[in-house]
């Protein structure tokens, strides 16, 4: 069976500026897959390619063996239905309450009675621990709550793949930990595949079972595999350096 997501020979560029070239990796069903790398290496750009907000300069992205990048924009609806995306800034629609943020995509995808919509929104918010905040506007809640509301909205259409862009950046250690637990809970409870862009080492080691490291120096993928194993056994010194916060323990064979 084909992998959930397959990235083949992907080259990403802004005009003539090549951000990353020749990326090749697969993400399996129910993986918690981390895209990691230093600041400005193109992690978020890779995420934007995966969800179709940018077109690759070369190469392709396949979902369950179906070519996403070759599908014209107008026919990508079935793909989009499977994605849930939480943006770095949460990107909640600021003129809508939290409940409306979640119910709007539902409202537009199928006709549901208002009561059902409201119940669905309350349920999604309670999953991320925001019960009782249904009628708050995004500007009235804290940064951590926005991130969690962003995840709740990403899950609105019951997607089977969740993309999270820096979910724990800017959060205190406890909120960040709770978010990790939430992500694990969602994977186990809903059976979602989760793709996370992050450089928070604590999160990476506690939740990821697979990861790709984007190397700024060579502009291509530096390593692929389980982060804990990469930390100790990767043959790429840049990867060991990154995963050990700059300390360089001797590479054990």
């Amino acid at each position: 069976m084909a992998a959930k997501i397959t990235v083949q020979d992907l080259t990403m560029a802004y005009g003539d500026l090549v951000v990353m070239h020749d990326l090749n990796f697969e993400i399996q069903d129910k993986d918690i897959f981390v895209i990691m790398g230093g600041s400005g290496c193109g992690k978020s750009t890779l995420l934007r390619h995966l969800i179709g907000l940018r077109e690759p300069a070369k190469g392709s992205i396949l979902y369950d063996g179906k070519d996403f990048t070759a599908t014209p924009l107008a026919e990508r609806g079935p793909f989009f239905q499977r994605f849930g995306v939480m943006y770095q800034s949460a990107a909640l629609w600021s003129s809508l309450t939290l409940a409306e943020n979640i119910s709007m995509p539902l409202e537009e995808s199928c006709k549901l009675p208002p009561k059902t919509l409201r119940d669905l929104a309350c349920y999604k918010l309670s999953l991320v621990g925001l019960s009782g905040y249904e009628d708050f506007y995004p500007s009235q809640i804290s940064g951590g709550m926005k991130k969690r509301a962003g995840i709740a909205r990403a899950m609105a259409l019951d997607p089977d793949i969740l993309f999270l862009d820096e979910p724990s950046s800017g959060l205190d250690p406890l909120s960040s930990r709770r978010l990790d637990d939430l992500i694990l809970g969602l994977r186990d409870g809903q059976g979602s595949t989760i793709v996370i862009v992050t450089h928070e080492l604590a999160s990476i080691f506690s939740i990821a079972n697979n990861a790709v490291f984007l190397d700024t120096a060579t502009h291509t993928q530096g390593a692929l595999g389980n982060p804990s194993e990469l930390r100790d056994h990767s043959d790429n010194p840049a990867v060991r350096l990154f995963l050990n916060r700059g300390d360089t323990p001797p590479s054990s064979p």
Binding site: R48, I51, G52, L53, G77, F80, Q81, F83, V85, Y87, Q88, S89, A91, L92, W93, S94, S95, M104, P105, E108, S109, R153, A156, L157
Partner: protein, 376 residues
């Protein structure tokens, strides 16, 4: 407690063969007197610092030393670290920190001055690009209207009603004030001139025709450019900066149908109504001046009605939906093209207002030419 006066900061360069020493003394403080430098700084780093008479200091001292070290030629290859002997420990630590990462030549943006030809070329290209973008945007608006007509465009009806309220009812106070004053001004200026010919009553014709044909619709369009066009650009621009538009896209919404279409529709629907309202309020303004100069309101009204044919009266209203579309398109286009920062949102808003007012005036001139040709 008495504060002792700070000894002024001094720096003395001494060169003895290969050895360069820098003697630093006094209190180096931002608020203190300026540094007096003795001797000329050599193009070499000091090999020894004398700091026995150095008092208190803030960042001015390390900044002074670093500024000298950075004027030196960039070291080529591996060189021994710059000697910092003789400096107090904390200062040495700070300077080592500052010198740890060499100056990065690549980080400077290319500041080569452009030749005149290049400037003209760039300006031409960017004008051409924004022209293309405008045509593209209008094309998208037409396609979006097509989808709307076939019932395939998706936007929130409640958003549409809110926009309708924002660019309709909520604009009434400012439209009232401006139109009333415009009517008043026209009547004042007109009555002074007409009084010379004893044709005072014709001020009603003057105010009526000019309000209904031009001033009502143009002033409303300019108010709406500043009020609503700017609001559209700022709203859409900040949604873009906050990735909210990306979020719409990944849920399968067309941001154009969702954000731009309801705004164009709302303004196109509201502009004619606002124009009729502005015309009436302007005429009332003229009537007030008339009453003050001895024309009874009933007579003024009869004269106004007699002077306005249905053709004249409909010209302004006919133009208004076009102006509305121009304002909405300018505002939304600049919002959608805004960059991802708060400064970019500000620029987009400015451009939106400028584009909207310019396009309103250009369109109005075009209408004037067409109406003249048609002899209306």
């Amino acid at each position: 407690m008495t504060s002792s006066p700070h000894p002024p900061p001094t720096a003395v360069w001494q060169q003895d063969g290969e050895a360069v020493s820098l003697t630093l003394a006094g209190d180096w403080l931002r608020a203190g007197p300026a540094v007096s430098v003795t001797g000329t700084a050599p193009d070499r780093a000091p090999t020894r610092y004398q700091t026995d008479a150095l008092g208190t200091h803030d960042s001015t001292l390390p900044a002074f030393i670093l500024a000298h070290l950075r004027t030196l030629k960039a070291p080529t290859g591996d060189q021994p670290p710059t000697p910092l002997d003789g400096l107090p420990d904390n200062l040495r630590g700070l300077l080592q920190l500052a010198l740890a990462v060499p100056e990065d030549g690549g980080a400077h943006p290319d500041t080569r001055p452009l030749s005149r030809l290049e400037t003209i070329g760039n300006a031409t290209l960017s004008t051409w690009q924004s022209g293309l973008a405008l045509v593209d945007f209008i094309g998208q608006a037409v396609l979006s209207l097509g989808r709307f007509a076939r019932g395939r465009a998706r936007f929130r009806t409640s958003d549409f009603w809110v926009t309708l309220q924002q660019c309709g009812v909520e604009a009434l106070p400012i439209v009232s004030l401006i139109s009333f004053l415009i009517g008043l001004i026209l009547a004042f200026v007109g009555s002074v001139q007409l009084a010379h010919f004893g044709a005072d009553l014709y001020v009603a014709d003057l105010v009526g025709i000019s309000m209904v044909r031009e001033m009502g619709v143009v002033m409303t369009a300019i108010i709406m450019s500043g009020r609503t066009g700017a609001a559209f650009a700022a709203h859409i621009g900040s949604m873009k900066a906050n990735e909210e538009i990306d979020a719409l896209r990944t849920f399968g919404f067309d941001p154009f149908d969702f954000l731009v279409l309801p705004r164009i529709l709302a303004l196109v629907l509201m502009m004619p109504i606002l124009t009729v309202y502005a015309d009436i309020v302007g005429i009332l303004g003229g009537m007030l001046v008339g009453a003050a100069s001895g024309i009874p309101p009933v007579l003024y009204w009869t004269e106004t009605v007699a002077s306005l044919h249905i053709t004249t009266a409909s010209l302004g209203v006919l133009k208004s939906p076009f102006f509305g579309a121009a304002i909405a398109i300018s505002g939304c286009m600049q919002g959608m093209r805004a960059g991802n920062s708060s400064a970019a949102v500000g620029e987009a808003t400015t451009r939106a207002v400028v584009t909207a007012i310019t396009s309103v005036i250009v369109l109005d001139s075009a209408f004037a030419a067409v109406f003249t040709l048609l002899d209306i």
